[in-house]
């Protein structure tokens, strides 16, 4: 087996080891590479910056612990921005494993930003039935969420004065890991005419460009980089900015292995990868 064949059949555990080393290293010792902002994040920042009438922002935390590293920095950066502008933030969740994550963010907002629960921020908890809940919020927020996550009745919260239905919100920002983003656009955006923006995991972000390009969403943050950009725009670099160095090195490791794989494929014994199924051999796969 010549060098090229060895190159194209490395045991995947060596690859795992390389990933572990190159991603842990910057987490322990950051490199400080510069982060550039993009127009879709800037347009969200300027939209929130120019909100005059101070009507609350609906922050839809529709994600669980497994996507928190990408989306929680976005939630914290937007809450920091809204509180500094005096715009109240009302949190809701349509994903079952969101309440635990949201609860930590709300505790952080009270300790770090001194946000007063019930006045500056409120969290209404989770309710099953995604589409039905959004439609119900259109008819009346307290109808969909009679009580907030901590048991006090929604209508008595000072933050809810003059803020009856989803239609009165100045913005709906969906922090999404799944297709729930489409539902916010379909029902809150198209049907109720509320401005909608998205904070998506990097996986779903490309798909959301379609809605940004057609103007159905006013801004879009994609992945940890989106969070890092908003952290910079708000002037409070945090976990996301810190993570970007490790992100860069991780990508480099993957690109290097892709090159190894292709070198091995082209220079090693050819045809090793022809499909095992006869019916697919003719097909361009």
């Amino acid at each position: 087996m010549n060098i090229w064949d060895k190159l194209s059949s490395i045991d995947r555990r060596w690859i795992f080891l390389a990933m572990a080393i190159f991603v842990s290293w910057p987490v322990l010792k950051p490199l400080g590479l510069p982060v550039t902002t993009t127009k879709e994040v800037e347009s969200l920042y300027s939209f929130i910056d120019e909100i005059e009438d101070k009507k609350p922002i609906i922050l839809a935390l529709d994600y669980g612990p497994s996507t928190a590293p990408e989306l929680t920095p976005m939630a914290k950066a937007v809450i920091r921005h809204a509180i500094s502008k005096g715009i109240p933030v009302v949190g809701v969740s349509l994903a079952p494993d969101a309440p635990g994550v949201a609860n930590d963010i709300w505790k952080w907002a009270q300790e770090e930003l001194g946000a007063v629960p019930g006045e500056d921020i409120a969290y209404l908890g989770y309710k099953a039935g995604t589409t039905n809940v959004i439609l119900q919020m259109g008819q009346g927020i307290s109808k969909a969420f009679p009580k907030d996550y901590y048991g006090n009745s929604t209508d008595d919260l000072p933050i809810m004065e003059g803020f009856q239905s989803l239609k009165d919100a100045s913005l709906v920002l969906g922090l999404e890991a799944t297709a729930i983003m489409d539902l916010w656009i379909q029902y809150a955006g198209d049907q109720m005419g509320v401005p909608v923006a998205g904070g998506m995991t990097a996986v779903s972000a490309p798909e959301a460009y379609v809605f940004y390009q057609s103007g159905q969403i006013v801004g879009l943050m994609g992945g940890m980089k989106g969070g890092a950009e908003y952290e910079l725009l708000v002037g409070a670099p945090g976990n996301a900015v810190q993570g970007m160095d490790a992100q860069s090195l991780g990508h480099i490791v993957i690109i290097v292995f892709i090159i190894f794989g292709n070198l091995g494929f082209f220079l090693g014994k050819k045809g090793q990868d022809v499909s095992r199924l006869k019916s697919l051999r003719g097909d361009q796969k």
Binding site: R12, S66, S275, S279, L280
Partner: protein, 269 residues
Amino acid sequence: MIFNFLNLMFQIQVKEGTGPVFFVLVLFVAALFFFLDKARKGATFKIRKIAGLDAVNEAIGRATEMGKSILYTTGLETASHIATIASLTILSRVAKRAARYGTRLQVPSFDPIVMSLSQEIVRESYLEEGMVDSFKGDDIFYLTQEQFAYTAAVEGVLVREKPATVFLMGYFYAESLLLAETGNSIGAIQIAGTDAVTQLPFFIVSCDYTLIGEELYAASAYLSEDSNIISSLKAQDFGKALLWIFLLLGSIATFAGSTKFLSLLGASI
């Protein structure tokens, strides 16, 4: 004109802006019933050959030759999701062949309703092949409704049972790559099919063949020769052809300055 008729008839105030959707829906429903009626009257419709489907049959044959099992997952969505319904249709065809060749078929489910549906569908396939006594209800089982608990459990089954062939048909989320990579590590032939756009790159990269988006719907129509599935495919093709022409003409006309097409689509002009 039709709206004031509607207003008059039911004193219902039609929501403005929903005109175009109403018109397009009426057209689409009409096309659907037109093709359904013709299909039921025995008209056969041509569907272009889908390369992946010969691979499906060959993959089942491979499992039989090696005397190993087949693992079929219907994805992580409920029965009201189009990809799940298409997957169940393909499952019934795979189950028929598995019954005929006596190959073990395992179906780990994510949703309890889909689990009970799969059990019925597979039992019916074994019935049609006259092998109902070798049907094992326990091989079609519900795991959990939590994405990663389900993935961890299916990976456990893959690593322990080592099936020769894995089918990943339905709607998937981020776990698609975990499943496909684990299937690869045990050397299984993998055929995937999903309309989950974000997961298509992973299946394309790690499976032997991937039915892209609507190819999954077309595959279920092609495989099932069921008039109602084929007719809906034709209606969708009809919709696509109409839209294709509309987009082409619309772009040219709008380029020339007319706003007719935009207002037709409901843009507030």
